[in-house]
């Protein structure tokens, strides 16, 4: 039984924690939050590139570090804990991953080395306004090497250099890849509830684009991509949940009322115990997701959905009850509680809302039950 990260992976975690404590204290997050113009923290992002994190999952022959997904999970958890305001998730969990999964050799050679080196930022453009996307209702369309339609919100779409885009085509849904600095593209920064991870709308008007993967197979590719990214998002959410729990615990221990630490009141103790329970279940499920991701196990769709659902719920609960534990201070702008509350919500919807993942979980469970029978 070896269901833990290895010693090397834990060393990587220590390194990541030291780096992020240094380069990404919550003041860094607040700077991006309070700024009207910053999309991310450029120094932090550069530091992450310098550490090779953008190339962790990319094989060495494409300029990456060639570590693996467990290492990426370790980094994801720490990024979640620190609320790092960078385009890492979009670029690494989604764009890089889509290229690794579906790119032709030429596409890989073209993009992966630059993604690994942090020369370009990628993203995945899926949503088309409010509401979940559906395979048969995509309005963005791809034909004859050109892409037209509106995608929003696109995470980090304002600063990304390339986007993987889910679009309709004559053959059915397709994934294609677009250089966002080419013609026929208009981008607008969007105001959102979590300004520490930027979002944009991107309007494509016959923008040059190339097919990524198989024509007509875009929806299935997207599902596969989302499952893999869900594990990494789950680790970010676990890290965030843990940080919110830690913050609540620290405050409860320091805050006194009625002559005693509020952490000695059962209402607070049991609240924190419930946050711990949710976080522990989510983390254990995320470990299982990490195992499935790193071994390309057939259990991945089930494991990913389970990790995603429990981590989404854990981060929501911890972020919300961290505010509650802080009492009046908790709902001031000055305290940091709302940073977690905002991030919890933006991560919760980023890969599609809870419902989508609960549904995938049960579908995968049906299939695994059927396979066992």
């Amino acid at each position: 039984m070896n269901f833990e990260f290895s010693e090397e992976q834990n060393l990587l975690r220590d390194q990541a924690q030291r780096f992020l404590r240094d380069k990404c204290p919550l003041e860094t997050v607040r700077t991006v939050l309070d700024s009207m113009t910053l999309s991310h923290d450029a120094a932090l992002w550069q530091g992450m590139i310098d550490l090779g994190w953008t190339g962790v999952s990319i094989p060495e022959r494409y300029g990456g570090v060639g570590l693996g997904y467990l290492e990426l999970c370790v980094i994801a958890e720490e990024l979640g804990r620190s609320l790092a305001p960078t385009p890492f998730a979009s670029s690494v969990y989604l764009a890089t991953e889509a290229l690794l999964l579906f790119g032709s050799d030429a596409q890989k050679e073209n993009y992966l080395p630059r993604l690994a080196a942090g020369e370009i930022v990628g993203t995945y453009a899926m949503a088309e306004g409010r509401g979940a996307v559906a395979a048969n209702k995509l309005k963005t369309s791809f034909s004859d090497g050109a892409l037209s339609g509106d995608k929003l919100p696109v995470p980090d779409g304002d600063i990304a250099d390339i986007a993987i885009v889910l679009a309709a085509s004559k053959a059915g849904p397709v994934m294609c890849i677009v250089d966002l600095n080419s013609s026929g593209i208009e981008r607008t920064v969007l105001e959102t509830m979590d300004p520490t991870r930027s979002q944009a709308s991107i309007c494509f008007d016959r923008a040059p684009a190339a097919l990524l993967g198989e024509a007509g197979n875009g929806w299935e590719q997207s599902q596969e991509l989302l499952s893999r990214a869900a594990v990494l998002f789950a680790f970010e959410q676990c890290g965030g949940a843990q940080a919110a729990l830690d913050m609540a615990k620290d405050y409860a221990l320091e805050r006194y009322a009625f002559g005693r630490s509020i952490a000695s009141f059962q209402a607070i103790k049991h609240k924190l115990a419930d946050m711990y329970i949710a976080t522990t279940l989510a983390r254990s499920n995320s470990y299982y997701g990490a195992w499935a991701l790193s071994t390309d196990a057939p259990e991945l769709p089930l494991a990913a959905a389970t990790a995603r659902v429990s981590s989404t719920q854990a981060f929501n609960e911890c972020a919300s009850e961290n505010i509650q534990t802080h009492g009046g201070m908790g709902f001031t702008w000055e305290f940091n509680c709302h940073l977690y509350y905002r991030r919890a919500k933006s991560l919760a919807v980023n890969l599609g809302g809870l419902h989508r993942w609960q549904d995938q979980l049960v579908t995968a469970l049906e299939q695994s039950t059927a396979a066992e029978a």
Binding site: G129, G131, V133, P153, N316, S346, G352
Partner: protein
């Protein structure tokens, strides 16, 4: 069972309707969109003045102070009717509801005659200075010091969560005059001119981005002893008088509710069909509707007791704890339904009313805390409604300055 007014209530309601329809505009027929706060306060002063000239200014007060001794049921009827109109009443809620009755109960006749008419007529706006950073759920744990200096008292310290402090003329204030006696014994209560030297007001920005409250700092602020309310050391008793008159006054508590969710789910799709057809969505709506309807019907029961001249039971104590949780839940769920687009804030393009869901999601955490946290309210239900004992009190009878206050 019926929902009809008694004949007396019907006649009172007709009178109120007559005044309102002649003097105010129905909600939704006016546009105050780009009104500044100053303009709003000005409009509120004018409306209060008009009400006072026509006998509608402070219904529950005794006639001698400009009131009309209205019954609790009449107060409710007036609230229902005034609520249909675009009537700017917010700035006077605390003054009329809490400060006025306290001044009336404790101030000298001279002060009463000087201050109360100006409150009734809208000339003076009042605020309440109770909460402190160290005194949240433990309300009596306050540190703002008052020290006697001749005929004056000198005040130093900090208050927090003061609504409207920056536009208020007068305030009521509770302070610690003796830290060497037990927590509830060493308090002294005053009213003061908010323009006194040494009073500094700073707005608090909430996580929703709004600023409904202030911090108020006191640096050597002088208050004449004649403005003391109650005995030296008797401030806690005065506080209880004030709090007995408390109504929920924690800023904007209106938020998203089931009808908004019904509208959203009929207009957004899930799995390729209207979200309203989704059983998981329906189940949540049903459960929240049970809460919404349960709170409304509980209010009806309270009003029925009032209408019969009875004292209502404790039923309504559940209102905020249920309402705040519901608001947070619906706000959060609405955003989830809007999926990735749920977090986009776009006032120009908001056919799904997403800002209401977002605003409630960001506002509800405050509502779960202000005016008594979820936890404090459950304590209150357990103790005052169900008669369960208090938790162990380790601070009882101990001199205030010896009560553990945690790491410095």
């Amino acid at each position: 069972m019926n929902f009809d007014d008694t004949p007396e209530e019907a006649s009172f309601r007709a009178e109120a309707q007559a005044f309102l329809s002649a003097n105010a505009e129905l909600k939704g027929t006016t546009e105050q969109g780009d009104e500044t706060e100053d303009e709003y306060i000005e409009r509120a002063r004018a409306w209060q003045k008009l009400k006072s000239e026509n006998g509608w200014a402070c219904l529950s007060w005794p006639v001698e102070y400009g009131g009309r001794g209205a019954s609790p049921m009449e107060l409710i009827i007036w609230g229902q009717e005034e609520g249909k109109y675009d009537a700017p009443v917010g700035p006077y809620v605390i003054g009329l509801g809490m400060c006025g009755p306290t001044v009336a109960a404790y101030a000298s006749d001279e002060h009463k005659n000087e201050r109360l008419p100006r409150l009734v007529s809208g000339e003076d706006i009042w605020c309440q200075l109770f909460s402190e950073p160290s005194a949240g759920s433990d309300l009596a744990n306050l540190r703002t010091r008052s020290e006697r200096d001749g005929d004056d008292w000198i005040i130093n310290g900090q208050k927090i969560w003061t609504s409207g402090a920056h536009y208020c003329d007068w305030g009521i204030l509770v302070t610690r005059s003796d830290p060497k006696v037990a927590k509830h014994k060493g308090l002294t209560f005053f009213f003061l001119d908010m323009k006194s030297p040494g009073v500094e007001i700073r707005p608090i920005k909430q996580i929703s981005g709004g600023s409904n409250f202030n911090e108020v700092y006191f640096t050597d602020v002088r208050i004449p002893d004649s403005q003391r309310l109650g005995e030296v050391g008797g401030g806690w008793g005065v506080c209880l008088t004030t709090l007995m008159n408390e109504r929920l006054a924690v800023g904007d508590t209106s938020g998203v509710d089931v009808p908004n969710l019904m509208e959203l789910v009929s207009r957004i799709e899930l799995d390729g069909e209207p979200a309203l057809h989704n059983n998981a969505v329906r189940e949540k709506i049903a459960n929240w509707y049970c809460q919404m309807s349960g709170l409304r019907n509980t209010r009806y029961r309270v009003m029925s007791a009032l209408s019969r001249g009875q004292t209502p039971g404790p039923e309504n104590s559940i209102s905020k704890v249920v309402g705040a949780g519901k608001m947070q839940g619906i706000g959060s769920f609405g955003i989830d339904l809007m999926d990735m687009g749920g977090i986009v804030v776009d006032s120009d393009n908001d056919d799904l009313n997403s800002q209401l869901f977002q605003g409630s999601f960001m506002g509800a955490p405050g509502l779960r805390i202000a005016g008594g946290t979820d936890e404090v309210l459950r304590n209150i239900i357990a103790e005052r409604v169900l008669g369960l004992p208090q938790d162990v009190r380790v601070d009882k009878g101990i001199p205030f300055n010896e009560i553990a206050q945690g790491p410095a």
